[in-house]
């Protein structure tokens, strides 16, 4: 060693990566921990526990647990069953069914919750009213403002997590594993029970934990359906505290304590998932493959097909149609018939009302900006983590994992703590604070997509460029970036699409002119403007589905 301090491209990249992660992710999270665990500058766990044992906080914790467990159980059963049905049986139209079962992934669950509220709220829900007024039932047949209601709606939107994982495992599984059980004398039922299910169990569990992770930190559905009945979970209580008593010390403290619990729960779930995926992973991937034997459903074929169609009709078509119809009503509560319908609501929202027009442009602008910035930041950080050998990389790896385990409401709260003027910068109530939060929120997506792409780029490719005389920077520009471009494009859309329908983060950060689409729908609903909320939801659905379809097309053409 000559003792000179070398300062070149690697050091700049490393410094940049650390700076991005510290400023956008680490500082907000640390501020939350600090506020949760320190009182008047001193560590005070007793006070934290006191906050947790307050009845409302305690209740929210229990509710989060009840709701997340309920959704995990039902979502896992539904997801596994449908996955088995479309991969292992002779169900008609399996391919189409498989695509349709993934549609809920595209749709924002809070719009679904809004639709179900319009259908099944105890007094004014259309289904309940039909049963009471037309069929003469004394009471509502189902009250959506309940634990059952919330679990039902969340299940509809979260079961694809298990469905995707299990479908993938069943499709990739070596069919001879099942065939060798058949030739051993086992019938198809025994094989499913003793061979198939145990072998895909890691995928089932991993999907189940994903459902749990999302449900635990889920805001929209609980906010739409729970608050009416006094059911708060952790994210909705954080929202309530920040909004109702803005800025008070006690409310910030409760919110930070709840956030801390949420972060640790999320970290625990992710840890368990990694454990299952790495430890229990069986080598069940097929070499040469014949189609696996399809289970003949025989007499059950038509009933199960009808069941699938009914499920899709009930969970996707019905809520979507309801949204569009209610959005076209003159006044909420009127029967849905032609003389009560109008396009004025849609016209008003799109062309006349600043609140909704701003919201649409805000969401598109925020989605675009956050996707672009996060995509480039993601490349830099993943490059340092995956490819570079620099000291202190361990810290970076840890920081890079952080965004995966920090739920949206926690990010939002951390951003409020960090960027409200206490540390020199005040962007509270501006669009910038939402952008900052989105960057932190979606960093995980960018890291995942870019790391995957970078791992495909073998080191020798860069070394060959260096050997040909390229500097580190030139090698990066001419070799690495072109090769990881597909990963970067993927990262962009992985961020842009969910940002379009984001609610959890922006609902904690919006100001008078900085509503997003999600916030607009949510506040319109809160204010009793149900018809406009529905119309706005309809517009949002069109934007979101169009974006999804265009992106899917684009990707298909690219392949």
């Amino acid at each position: 060693m000559t003792g000179t301090l070398r300062f070149g491209t690697p050091q700049i990249l490393f410094g940049l990566a650390v700076a991005i992660l510290v400023v956008f992710v680490a500082v907000p999270v640390l501020l939350i921990f600090f506020n949760a665990l320190w009182v008047d500058g001193a560590f005070n766990l007793a006070d934290t526990i006191k906050v947790l044992s307050e009845p409302e906080t305690y209740r929210a914790l229990i509710n989060s647990l009840i709701l997340a467990s309920g959704v995990t159980v039902t979502g896992t059963i539904v997801g596994t069953f449908f996955a088995w049905l479309v991969t292992r049986t002779d169900l008609p139209y399996k391919g189409a069914m498989k695509v349709l079962f993934l549609v809920p992934f595209m749709l924002p669950s809070f719009i679904g919750a809004l639709a179900w509220k319009m259908l099944l709220s105890p007094r004014s829900g259309y289904i309940n009213r039909f049963f009471m007024e037309t069929l003469g039932f004394p009471d509502a047949i189902f009250n959506i403002y309940s634990y059952h209601g919330i679990i039902l709606v969340e299940t509809m939107y979260l079961f694809p997590f298990v469905f995707i994982q299990v479908c993938g495992a069943l499709e990739r599984m070596d069919p001879t594993l099942e065939e060798s059980a058949r030739i051993s004398g086992a019938d198809l039922f025994t094989i499913t029970r003793k061979i198939t299910i145990p072998l895909v169990m890691p995928s089932i569990l991993s999907g189940a934990l994903l459902i749990m992770l999302y449900s635990m930190a889920h805001f929209g559905t609980v906010a739409m359906l729970g608050i009416e009945a006094g059911i708060y979970n952790i994210p909705t209580l954080i929202y309530e505290r920040i909004h109702q008593s803005a800025g008070s010390f006690a409310s910030i403290r409760t919110a930070t304590v709840l956030s801390t619990v949420l972060v640790f729960t999320a970290a625990l779930i992710i840890w368990a998932q990694n454990k299952i995926l790495s430890g229990g992973r069986y080598q069940i991937i097929a070499g040469k493959s014949f189609r696996p034997t399809e289970i003949r459903l025989r007499g059950l074929r038509t009933p199960l097909l009808l069941f699938c169609i009914a499920y899709i009709g009930f969970t996707i078509v019905l809520p979507t149609v309801t949204i569009f119809l209610v959005g076209g009503l003159n006044t909420y509560g009127l029967p849905i018939s032609p003389e009560n319908m109008t396009f004025d609501n849609y016209y008003h929202i799109l062309f006349e009302w600043d609140l909704t027009r701003d919201a649409i442009w805000n969401s598109i602008g925020l989605g675009f900006a956050s996707a672009l910035i996060t995509m480039f930041a993601g490349v830099i950080i993943s490059y340092v983590i995956v490819k570079m050998k620099v000291r202190g990389k361990g810290i970076l790896e840890f920081l890079g994992m952080l965004p995966f385990s920090v739920p949206g409401s926690v990010i939002a709260l951390g951003v409020i703590l960090a960027w409200s003027g206490k540390y020199g910068v005040n962007i509270y109530n501006t669009i910038w604070i939402i952008l900052v939060a989105y960057i932190a929120r979606y960093m995980a997506f960018a890291l995942k997509a870019n790391s995957a792409a970078l791992e495909q780029v073998h080191n020798s490719l860069v070394e060959a460029a260096r050997a040909s005389g390229a500097t580190m920077w030139q090698a990066l520009r001419d070799i690495v970036i072109p090769l990881v471009r597909p990963g970067m494009v993927a990262a962009f859309f992985l961020i842009f699409l969910p940002a379009l329908r984001e609610l959890t983060v922006s609902v904690l950060l919006y100001g008078p002119t900085t509503r997003t689409i999600g916030v607009a729908i949510y506040t319109l609903n809160e204010d009793g403007e149900t018809v406009y909320a529905a119309a706005m939801s309809g517009v949002a659905l069109i934007i979101i589905v169009t974006a999804e379809v265009v992106v899917k097309r684009f990707f298909k053409v690219k392949q």
Partner: protein
């Protein structure tokens, strides 16, 4: 006395005939290998015997038991056929111990605990797995996994074993070892084997008879010797062992390769129908060609490669090329030298008999 019978089996995938009119009988204790390039229908045939594919024509019988019949529209599901089967990709269940993998077919048959223990131990001994009974399959190597699969297939003491390229996922040295072990176990237990492979040396080493297939049609069924020395057609000739071909013209003055005269001898005598047609193909094994100083078919050495045990020659005969292999003990001509060629062994095929192997 045959046990397994396949009578006139047809199988179509869409419009493609995967197997056409296949007949085969396997005697008790006999090992028959189905050999052919990929896509020839050999694996499909095995899967029809196992019951994983139905048949579009013919019938399959084992002993007195009808397995599949197109005419009677009868199809016995695989789990009722009582065969042992070993797959190429091992297909051992990673969530069960080695013992439980082997015990699985016995538990399905609801045997008593003692009987299961006895049979599994026996199968473990036969496959040299005794000390791995409690291991997880993923702790064993590829060869170990394939032993588990073999033991599992042996446990029900089947009359017929179906082996689907059981050795092609193994390392070369394991492959040879397992080959002899399978043969040894078969000799001791006396079951029949129907074996699918694309490796001709494996088929030769293991089987009593070989069935060569191409595009769903049986080309030849015979002992390994038959198939090697008396190939039924040019395809079989070129698929088994090394081969080299010369186009030969029959003229009034004798036989010619291009314009070069081909002196006749007894083994080279061409069948009359080819002589009548005016041309044919002379098929030779490179090791069956001898160099002579005087006479013979005249050729020029183009390339001479020393391969250790053998020396490999490329000889230009007119505009055609002939491959010759001699052991390292024989001194042959050098590159550029002219030499005479005689044939210790040769087969004649019509020119229209196009080989594609």
């Amino acid at each position: 006395m045959s046990y397994l019978k396949l009578n006139g089996i047809d199988k179509r995938f869409g419009n493609v005939a995967a197997v056409s009119g296949l007949n085969l009988e396997v005697a008790p204790g006999e090992c028959v290998a189905m050999l052919g390039p990929s896509g020839c229908g050999k694996t499909t045939t095995l899967r029809m015997v196992a019951g994983f594919e139905d048949i579009d024509g013919g019938e399959i019988v084992a002993g007195e038991k009808l397995l599949s019949s197109k005419v009677q529209n009868y199809y016995l599901p695989p789990e009722k056929r009582d065969f042992g089967m070993v797959f190429q990709a091992f297909a051992v269940w990673p969530h069960l111990s080695v013992f439980e993998n082997i015990a699985f077919p016995l538990r399905i048959r609801k045997l008593s605990g003692d009987e299961i223990k006895r049979r599994v131990d026996e199968a473990l001994r036969y496959t040299n797995l005794a000390k791995f009974a409690d291991s997880r399959p993923d702790d064993l190597s590829g060869g170990g996994k394939q032993r588990i699969a073999l033991a599992r297939a042996l446990a029900i003491r089947p009359k017929v074993m179906l082996l689907d390229e059981p050795l092609s996922s193994l390392d070369p040295h394991f492959r040879e070892e397992m080959r002899f072990e399978i043969k040894d176990i078969q000799r001791r237990l006396g079951f029949s084997i129907l074996y699918v492979t694309h490796d001709q040396s494996e088929a030769m080493a293991l089987s009593d008879r070989i069935l060569v297939m191409k595009k769903g049609v049986v080309q030849q069924v015979g002992t390994p010797r038959d198939v090697y020395y008396r190939p039924a057609n040019r395809f079989v000739f070129s698929f088994i062992g090394l081969s080299s071909f010369l186009r030969v013209r029959f003229a009034s003055g004798g036989l010619y390769v291009d314009e070069l005269p081909l002196p006749l001898s007894a083994v080279e005598a061409a069948p009359d129908e080819l002589v009548g047609a005016g041309d044919g193909v002379l098929a030779v094994r490179p090791s069956d060609v001898d160099f002579v100083d005087e006479g013979g078919l005249r050729g020029v050495v183009r390339r001479r490669s020393y391969l250790g045990e053998i020396v490999d020659y490329q000889i230009a005969v007119g505009s055609q090329m002939l491959r010759v292999q001699k052991t390292r003990h024989e001194t042959g001509p050098q590159v550029g030298e002219t030499c005479g060629l005689t044939f210790a062994m040769a087969n004649w095929y019509p020119l229209s008999d196009i080989a594609e192997a």
